[in-house]
Symmetry: C2
Subunit: 267 residues, 2 copies
């Protein structure tokens, strides 16, 4: 990408964030600003942020950190220019003691000066890399949400954050899966290489036709299910910890960052 | 590896090649000079060498070229110091019109000034990389030859060289296979990443318990067969071409080169 088109892309990202800030846009972000990373959101009081950071560091495949804020500071400069996390995401979910208690389109009435924001890498980035390599993504072809399951793979615990890993699944031929492993290995900050393929029962998935989150997709003859560590693990960790107060994004309503996916590649 | 140990390793390689040259050693080379690449051998008249080179270039996964000689020159400087290909391999197979016609321990009576030598990368290099990553290799654990099959994957043809791909198989868990794909992707000159995993029938293998070449190995519960493009493809191409005269190594009796496996890594 030439410098000028990168500037245009970031200008588009900023425009969308400002539309979210003003309330002009409150929809999903799938397919927006291709080339730029989108992120999962986890916001919690400082009291729990140290353990959560340790949890993410110990479980980098499901919970790769793209950015962390200063305590009480709603700005997230690590992720982009002029990002005010109180307003620049279209829809937020509020949690109390691990239970969802409401959905809002801004955090103006909920911000506290002890809150810390975490931006966690999202599969949209590697899906884009796969599509650019002509590897078809079934959930995108079908226009549905990717299939996700709880597994029997236990994450490394940290303080109150103790949870099994959540995985997403995309069906592929073995040759496509081998290429996908190569491509995704370049992107450890957005879940990296798959963690499993083939037999779902080997990671505790009982019914491959019934995802725990998202939508079911068809697996064609000659394909195998390929499983990636999923950022929903972070949300499950926060909910499972039953901390008094926490904030996440509404699924599909991600933070649009200024970070190029190509900059996230380690190779 | 420090410079001194590399020198020692190459001195050991040279000592073994000189033992082969003198006739003091005529055995297999498996496990010898770990760290240095070993190579498959294909020697043929100049008349066919152009097509064979084109065949290898078009089918780099089974037939990656580590070295080519000048016409009629028995030395192979691309592969190491003072390698005389007429004597420095322990056992050779002679072919006429595609049929094996004899085994010899040197080529002194068979060398011709129109012969060209090709050294083709060998799986020993990536097996070493996998073992160094604590990925077990069943055929090495069992002390047998790796299982190999003819497939229904057609290589790109070049002149008289027309053959389906031969593959080798190593059983692994999916997590080991994912790591193996990452590791082997660094080594395109020694067959690179696997080309298939899982269902043998998808690449034309009818019975996974009966290899076409080498020995059968057990596949444990929870493992899948993982298939790599195999250098035996080169031998099959030469035999299939039914050229009047050709020379190969006896399987397992490889050319020991001075090339470090770590130097073959593209990353």
């Amino acid at each position: 990408m030439v410098e000028n088109s990168i500037q245009l892309l970031r200008a588009e990202a900023k425009r969308i964030r400002l539309d979210m800030r003003s309330g002009a846009y409150d929809g999903q972000t799938s397919g927006m600003t291709p080339g730029l990373a989108q992120a999962n959101l986890a916001i919690m009081p400082k009291e729990y942020a140290g353990d959560f950071l340790r949890f993410c560091n110990s479980n980098r495949k499901p919970c790769p950190i793209l950015g962390v804020s200063d305590v009480g500071d709603p700005m997230l400069p690590m992720c982009g220019d002029d990002i005010d996390i109180r307003t620049d995401v279209s829809r937020y979910w509020l949690y109390e003691n691990g239970e969802p208690v409401g959905e809002v389109t801004d955090l103006k009435d909920h911000w506290r000066d002890d809150l810390v924001t975490f931006a966690v890498g999202c599969s949209y980035s590697f899906e884009e890399a796969l599509i650019n390599a002509e590897i078809p993504i079934r959930n995108i072809e079908m226009g549905v949400t990717v299939s996700m399951w709880n597994t029997n793979i236990q994450c490394e615990g940290a303080g109150p954050f103790q949870t099994p890993m959540v995985v997403s699944m995309r069906p592929m031929t073995p040759a496509q899966a081998i290429r996908a492993i190569q491509i995704c290995s370049r992107f450890p900050d957005v879940h990296g290489a798959p963690i499993h393929f083939g037999d779902p029962a080997a990671i505790g998935i009982e019914d491959i036709t019934k995802p725990d989150y998202g939508d079911a997709v068809e697996i064609y003859p000659g394909e195998v299910p390929v499983f990636w560590a999923c950022g929903v693990t972070a949300q499950r960790a926060v909910a499972g910890a039953k901390i008094p107060f926490g904030i996440g994004h509404k699924p599909g309503h991600m933070l649009i960052t200024d970070q190029l996916n190509s900059q996230l590649a380690v190779l």
